[in-house]
């Protein structure tokens, strides 16, 4: 990409007033909270007696982390854990209700709407569903050139050239500009979504489950594309997925989320190879492995019960209702994310830097071993 774009200020390009030194966090999140009103309190609800689900969903509840320039942070968790909400909150696509999000050291909530608009150019998103996230009435050319237009980055013939280049960068052909999304397969549509995200030359990209909707033989294509783009364009990613194999492959560090809380954070090899928090251990042990010998030999931790509702999360450690290692104190103490091994953090009161391995509790002392309803009743 070598277009004469006056506004092109990627790191590594020309210095910009907003640029940060290498190694500095590009994105920093402090005590981030995203709460949703789940409804149930309106006049109609009162009238119809619908008080069943009144309350606040704590989708993201006190999360702090940083993403360094050029790094890929993988965010993994099960449905409803708040990982997509967190990704959207980083781009301010969903407003947060507490805490701060900093981009290049500046807090997003304090930016004027004009500044926010300028900053947004550097932060883009790739969505999960390549069928729902592209406007079916727009041609591929219109879709990809929209950010160029919105941010006033290129005009006329230059814009058309940029679009062609972008399409070729993501493995499509410049001949495709006049076609509509419906004429493409899922994998190709995801490439269109990626081209759109890259159009404004962002520094930071949130990729929310970008391969989940794709066929197995296409997933590797898209993962390789994301990795190549990161190298070529010095991108910084937040890669959100429930697929631990993909997360492990693409990420430098991995963050694990459970019911709105960050429960583990560390280097990818360390989190995958030596998980500390019991939930992470169970999650990794549950990933089916394409190797029959390893599958039959491995010890699987099968968790009891379902993920509790984020409307009414368990007190103390939110995982204690399913945790095979939980003790009575786990029901009361909210564990903080602590550095258990160098640069490897976990939120669990049963482990410490001196004792990173959890001692088994005796008999049926662990509530997670019984079913949650029995625990509640006892």
């Amino acid at each position: 990409m070598n277009t004469p774009d006056a506004l092109d200020k990627r790191p590594g390009a020309s210095p910009s007033p907003l640029s940060v030194a290498a190694g500095e966090p590009l994105v920093a999140v402090r005590d981030l909270e995203v709460y949703f009103d789940s409804g149930g309190g309106s006049a109609w609800d009162k009238f119809t007696g619908n008080s069943g689900n009144r309350g606040v969903v704590r989708a993201v509840d006190g999360v702090s982390f940083e993403i360094k320039t050029g790094e890929t942070l993988g965010l993994v968790g099960e449905s409803g854990c708040g990982k997509s909400t967190l990704g959207r909150a980083l781009l301010r696509l969903t407003p947060h209700t507490g805490g701060q999000v900093y981009f290049r050291g500046r807090e997003l909530a304090h930016l004027s709407s004009q500044e926010l608009r300028r900053t947004r150019r550097h932060m883009q998103m790739i969505f999960q569903d390549p069928y729902a996230s592209l406007n079916p009435r727009m041609t591929v050319g219109q879709i990809v050139s929209e950010p160029l237009e919105t941010f006033g980055l290129a005009h006329g013939r230059e814009r058309a050239e940029r679009v062609s280049e972008l399409l070729e960068t993501v493995g499509l052909s410049a001949r495709h500009v006049k076609r509509y999304p419906r004429e493409f397969s899922g994998g190709q549509r995801q490439r269109i979504g990626i081209a759109r995200a890259l159009a404004a030359n962002p520094e930071f990209v949130v990729a929310d489950e970008p391969i989940s909707a794709l066929d197995v033989s296409i997933q590797a294509q898209i993962m390789n594309l994301l990795e190549r783009l990161r190298r070529e364009r010095s991108l910084t990613y937040l890669f959100i997925s429930h697929d631990l194999r993909a997360i492990r492959h693409l990420s430098d560090r991995i963050a694990v989320m459970y019911l709105g809380k960050l429960v583990e954070l560390g280097a990818a090899a360390s989190v995958y190879g030596d998980p500390l928090m019991p939930y992470t251990k169970a999650l990794i042990s549950a990933v089916p492995f394409p190797d029959p010998a390893r599958e039959s030999a491995r010890r699987r931790i099968v968790l009891a019960g379902d993920v509790p509702s984020p409307l009414d999360p368990p007190p103390g450690c939110r995982f204690h209702t399913r945790c095979p290692y939980a003790v009575a104190a786990c029901r009361e103490v909210v564990p903080a994310l602590a550095e258990i091994k160098p640069a490897h953090f976990a939120a669990c009161i049963r482990i410490s830097p001196d004792q990173p391995e959890i001692e088994q509790v005796e008999g049926d002392a662990a509530p997670g071993l019984k079913n949650p309803e029995q625990v509640a009743a006892s």
Partner: protein, 337 residues
């Protein structure tokens, strides 16, 4: 696991299910054959459009007609060809001797009926249970599949259950008439990984306890590796490879299987580019001449683009649809497909 001595429960021969479309005839399933032994778990693996789900629907004649039509083949279950039985007789097999579970339990459960009523309906019909017997049986089945507090939950409606619990309810329904064969079509694809582990564990333990035979349809080679005795790999409506599970993974003899396995990220060896299969899954309405995988195959030569490949038998139980199957099988360590 060898099932040499086990009796054949199901034998599928040259199954062809075609669909009429604007683009002409779509050969969704085209000449599929396999056997299933008593007590065995067979995996059918493939991507979207490979024909794996249409195959499973065809076994019970559940393909919508039109646009679909089972044009030929045999599905011999315990000596009877399901495809030539009168429909009334097929209804006695469905849900009783062969039952099915699907990816989305909500599409198979009636949202307006209590779970217990839906379970009871089956056993009253097939096992001639009285109302009371059927209700008791429903509660026992829900307990068997691990629904906590089953007696109370039995009278709940489907929406009151979580996704994982609904899939358990589906399994309870599928097993309530003690079938000989369970067909599970992507049973865990919509579920989270820890819930998937629970459901797979449940199917495993039910198999051990009851001797149930299972056909597991999935796109996930990891699930296949952990759950099945033998695997059928489908692509473009055809069986591309068929082998005992351990052999398929250790010594794949088809370029497509090999490429799929190579393209999976290995969590223990991170980084680096993944092997990627070029191109797109084929449009079954417009298949190329010759081998349908040839346009994406690294090993393809001219013959692949002009002649349909032979189904080569490599061992007693290992088959591969490829012009070069024997060569690939004899040199397992060459990375090039």
């Amino acid at each position: 696991m060898s099932h040499a001595a086990a009796e054949t429960l199901l034998s599928v021969r040259n199954l062809c299910t075609y669909f009429g479309s604007e683009d002409g005839v779509v050969k969704a399933v085209d000449g599929v054959s396999f056997d299933l032994a008593q007590g065995e778990t067979l995996g059918i693996v493939g991507e979207s459009g490979s024909g794996k789900s249409v195959t499973s629907l065809s076994l019970l004649r559940l393909v919508n007609e039109p646009p679909g039509k089972i044009v030929r083949g045999e599905v011999v279950f315990q000596g009877q060809d399901i495809l030539s039985l009168p429909l009334e007789a097929v209804r006695h097999i469905r849900g009783k001797r062969i039952s099915m579970i699907f990816q989305d339990p909500m599409t198979s459960l009636n949202p307006f009926m209590r779970i217990s009523t839906q379970l009871a309906e089956l056993t009253r019909l097939h096992l001639r249970h009285t109302k009371r017997e059927a209700h008791e049986h429903a509660v026992r089945m829900l307990e068997t599949v691990g629904i906590p507090d089953a007696r109370r939950r039995a009278d709940d409606y489907p929406h009151e259950f979580s996704g994982g619990m609904r899939q358990r309810v589906m399994i309870a329904m599928a097993l309530s008439c003690q079938p000989e064969l369970l067909i599970a079509d992507e049973p865990t694809t919509a579920l989270d990984v820890t819930i998937q582990a629970q459901i797979l564990e449940l199917i495993r333990s039910l198999k051990i306890q009851t001797g149930l035979s299972v056909i597991l349809i999935t796109h996930d080679l990891g699930v296949v590796a952990g759950m099945t005795d033998r695997v059928v790999v489908m692509y473009a409506g055809k069986v591309f490879e068929q082998a005992p599970t351990h052999e398929l993974f250790a010594r794949p003899a088809n370029p497509y299987t090999k490429a799929l396995l190579r393209s999976m990220p290995d969590p223990e060896a991170a980084g680096g580019a993944l092997y990627q299969i070029p191109g797109l899954p084929p449009d079954v309405a417009r298949l190329p001449a010759g081998c349908p995988f040839a346009p994406r195959c690294e090993r393809a030569e001219d013959v692949c683009r002009s002649e349909f490949p032979p189904f080569v038998q490599l061992t007693r139980e290992h088959f591969s649809l490829c012009h070069f199957a024997a060569e690939i099988y004899s040199r397992p360590d060459t990375p090039d497909a």
